[in-house]
C-alpha cells in the first residue's frame, strides 16, 4: 500500500495508545432486533450534480451525487465508479464497496436506454455510524432517481449484524458499536415494488444456512419499511423543483 507521505512520521518505536487503554466499557444496550433508526432523506440538494441525495440514519451520514450520462471510454455498459471518503482506510476496501454499489444498482437502472454511455455515481461517507454500505446504496438510488435516470425501481439497502454469543440474534440496522462487536455482518439491497434482491454482501461467522436465511428475511422486511420515506423525499424534491422553475 502506498505510504501517506503528508503525515508527520512518528518515532520508529511508537505504539498506539489503545494498547494500554483500560478495559472496554459495557457493550451496547439490548434493543428490539427489528428496530430501524429514524431516517432523514433529502433528494436534489447539490446544484452542480445532475442528481443528488443526502441520507442520514442515526450517526451515519452519506451524500451521493450522480453525473452523466456521458460517453463511455470503451465498453457499452453504463455504470461507473463510486468513491467513498471519510474514515475507512485504503484503496482495497473502497474498491470492494464501489463494486458492491455497482452490482446492486445495475439491476435497477434501464441501462439499455443509455447505450455507449457512462453514469458516474459517487458516494461520500461523511460519518460512519453503522450500516454505511446500506445507507450509501439507498442514497445512490435516490440520487439516480433525482437525476431522472430511467429506472425499473428504487433500490433500498439495509444492514444487519449478528450479536456475538450468547445472544446470537440478528440485529437490524446496527450502530457502529454493534457492528464492531458483531460476529458477522450482512447488507441486503431490495427493489421493493418488484420484490427482487438487487444486492447481497455478507461475511463473518454467521453460523448455519438457516441463520443467514433468517437474516436475509429480516433485512428484506426492513427494506420494505424504509420505502415510504424515500418515496416522500422524491415527491418533495420534485415539488421543490417545480416551484423553483415557475417564476
Amino acid at each position: 500500500m502506498p505510504g501517506d507521505h503528508r503525515r508527520i512520521r512518528g518515532p520508529e518505536e511508537s505504539q498506539p495508545p489503545q494498547l494500554y487503554a483500560a478495559a472496554e466499557e459495557e457493550g451496547p444496550a439490548a434493543r428490539d432486533p427489528t428496530r430501524l433508526r429514524p431516517v432523514y432523506a433529502r433528494a436534489g440538494l447539490l446544484s452542480q450534480a445532475k442528481g443528488s441525495a443526502y441520507l442520514e440514519a442515526g450517526g451515519t451520514k452519506v451524500l451521493c451525487a450522480v453525473s452523466g450520462p456521458r460517453q463511455a471510454e470503451g465498453g457499452e455498459r453504463g455504470g461507473g465508479p463510486a468513491g467513498s471518503g471519510g474514515e475507512p482506510p485504503g484503496g482495497g476496501e473502497e474498491r470492494e464497496l464501489a463494486l458492491a454499489l455497482q452490482e446492486a444498482l445495475e439491476p435497477a437502472v434501464r441501462l439499455g436506454r443509455y447505450p455507449r454511455a457512462q453514469l458516474e455515481v459517487s458516494a461520500l461517507l461523511l460519518e460512519d455510524g453503522g450500516s454505511a454500505l446500506a445507507a450509501a446504496l439507498t442514497a445512490a438510488a435516490l440520487a439516480l432517481a433525482d437525476a431522472g435516470v430511467e429506472m425499473y425501481d428504487l433500490v433500498v439497502g439495509c444492514g444487519l449484524s449478528l450479536a456475538p454469543e450468547p445472544a446470537g440474534t440478528w440485529l437490524l440496522d446496527p450502530t457502529r458499536l454493534e457492528e464492531e462487536r458483531a460476529a458477522a455482518g450482512l447488507t441486503v439491497a431490495l427493489m421493493p415494488v418488484l420484490n427482487q434482491v438487487a444486492g447481497l454482501l455478507g461475511s463473518g461467522e454467521g453460523g448455519l444456512i438457516e441463520s443467514w436465511a433468517e437474516a436475509v428475511r429480516l433485512g428484506l422486511e426492513g427494506c420494505q419499511r424504509l420505502y415510504p420515506v424515500l418515496q416522500q423525499s422524491l415527491v418533495r424534491a420534485a415539488r421543490r423543483r417545480g416551484a423553483a422553475a415557475q417564476p
Partner: protein, 293 residues
C-alpha cells in the same frame, strides 16, 4: 419469401437456458454436478506449499510462502494471511496489460472476506512471540486458464495449498540481557502443518432462466444474469455470501440457492479431503504429473 433462421449463438443460448428445468445441461451434467476436478499439490518446489487445480478448462496455480513478520496491532497473538491474485494474460486476451487487475482485486477481496473470521484458519498457531514475531502466509493465486467458475476453483486450490503448507518450527531463545533470538530447527522435516478442517470453499450458483446451476462453464456464465456466491465449510457453516452480476434475484431463489450451496459444499469438501489425504499417503515417491500431464 422471407425466412428467419436463428443464428448459432441464439440456438446455443436457448439450449443453455431451456436445459436446466429438465436437469440437463449442454455437456450432459445435472444442475448440481461439478466438472471433473484434478488437484495436485506440491507442484512448485520453492514455496512452503502449493497446489494446482484443473476444473474443466479452468486452471489455477496457488503458491503459499511463509515469512516472518510483525503481528497486526489489534491482534498481537496471531499471524495472518495475505492474498494476491494475478490474472495472467494467458488465461484470456482480456487480461492483457492492466485488464486483469480489476478481476484480480475482486477475487483477492473475496478471499479476504471468506477467511475473515476466527475459525477458518487457527491464526494462533502462526504466532511466534506475541507482539513481535509471527508467521505471515502470502498466498499467491495465478490464473493460468479461464474456463468459467473461477471462484470455486480458486477456493479449492487455496484449501489444497494450505493443506500442503509446511511451516518450519522455530524456537525463541532468550538470553540473560533479555534479547531474543530465533532459532530454526536443524531438521528440515520438522514443520508445523496447518489444519484445514474449517477452511471454507466457495460454491457459485448461477441463475439461468428459472433454475440455478453449479459450476457454470463460460457459455453458461454468459447466459446468466446473476449468481450467488456462498462460502461454506465442511461442517455447513457459512462464512460469506455475495450476489454477483448485473441482474437481480428473487428472494425465494436466494433461499433455494443457499440450500443447494450447503448441500453441494458438503459433498465437495468430503471428496476434496479424501483426495488430499490419499495423495499425501502416497508419500514422496508418488508420480508427479506437473504441467505436462
Amino acid at each position: 419469401k422471407a425466412s428467419v433462421s436463428m443464428g448459432e449463438v441464439g440456438k446455443r443460448h436457448s439450449y443453455i437456458v431451456m436445459g436446466p428445468p429438465e436437469d440437463l445441461r449442454v455437456d450432459g451434467r445435472g444442475c448440481e454436478d461439478y466438472r471433473c476436478v484434478e488437484v495436485e499439490t506440491d507442484v512448485v518446489s520453492n514455496t512452503s506449499g502449493s497446489a494446482r487445480v484443473k476444473l474443466g478448462h479452468t486452471d489455477i496455480l496457488v503458491g503459499v510462502k511463509a515469512e516472518m513478520g510483525t503481528p497486526k496491532l489489534e491482534k498481537p497473538n496471531e499471524g495472518y494471511l495475505e492474498f494476491f491474485v494475478d490474472c495472467s494474460a494467458n488465461a484470456t486476451p482480456e487480461f492483457e496489460g492492466r485488464g486483469g487487475d480489476d478481476l484480480g482485486t475482486e477475487i483477492a477481496n473475496t478471499l479476504y472476506r471468506i477467511f475473515n473470521n476466527k475459525s477458518s484458519v487457527d491464526l494462533k498457531t502462526l504466532c511466534i512471540s506475541p507482539r513481535e514475531h509471527c508467521w505471515v502466509l502470502y498466498v499467491d493465486v495465478l490464473l493460468l486458464e479461464c474456463g468459467g467458475n473461477l471462484f470455486d476453483a480458486i477456493s479449492i486450490a487455496v484449501k489444497a495449498a494450505l493443506f500442503n503448507t509446511s511451516i518450519p518450527r522455530v524456537r525463541v531463545l532468550e538470553d540473560e540481557e533479555g534479547s531474543k533470538d530465533i532459532e530454526l530447527s536443524d531438521d528440515p522435516y520438522d514443520c508445523i502443518r496447518l489444519s484445514v478442517e474449517n477452511v471454507p470453499c466457495i460454491v457459485t450458483l448461477c441463475k439461468i432462466g428459472y433454475r440455478h446451476v453449479v459450476d457454470a462453464t463460460l457459455q453458461e456464465e454468459a447466459c446468466s444474469l446473476a449468481s450467488l456466491l456462498v462460502s461454506v465449510t465442511s461442517k455447513g457453516v457459512v462464512t460469506c455470501m455475495r450476489k454477483v452480476g448485473k441482474g437481480s434475484l428473487d428472494p425465494e431463489s436466494i433461499f433455494e440457492m443457499m440450500e443447494t450451496g450447503k448441500r453441494v459444499g458438503k459433498v465437495l469438501h468430503a471428496s476434496l479431503q479424501s483426495v488430499l489425504h490419499k495423495e499425501e499417503s502416497l508419500g514422496p515417491k508418488r508420480q508427479k504429473v506437473g504441467f505436462l500431464g
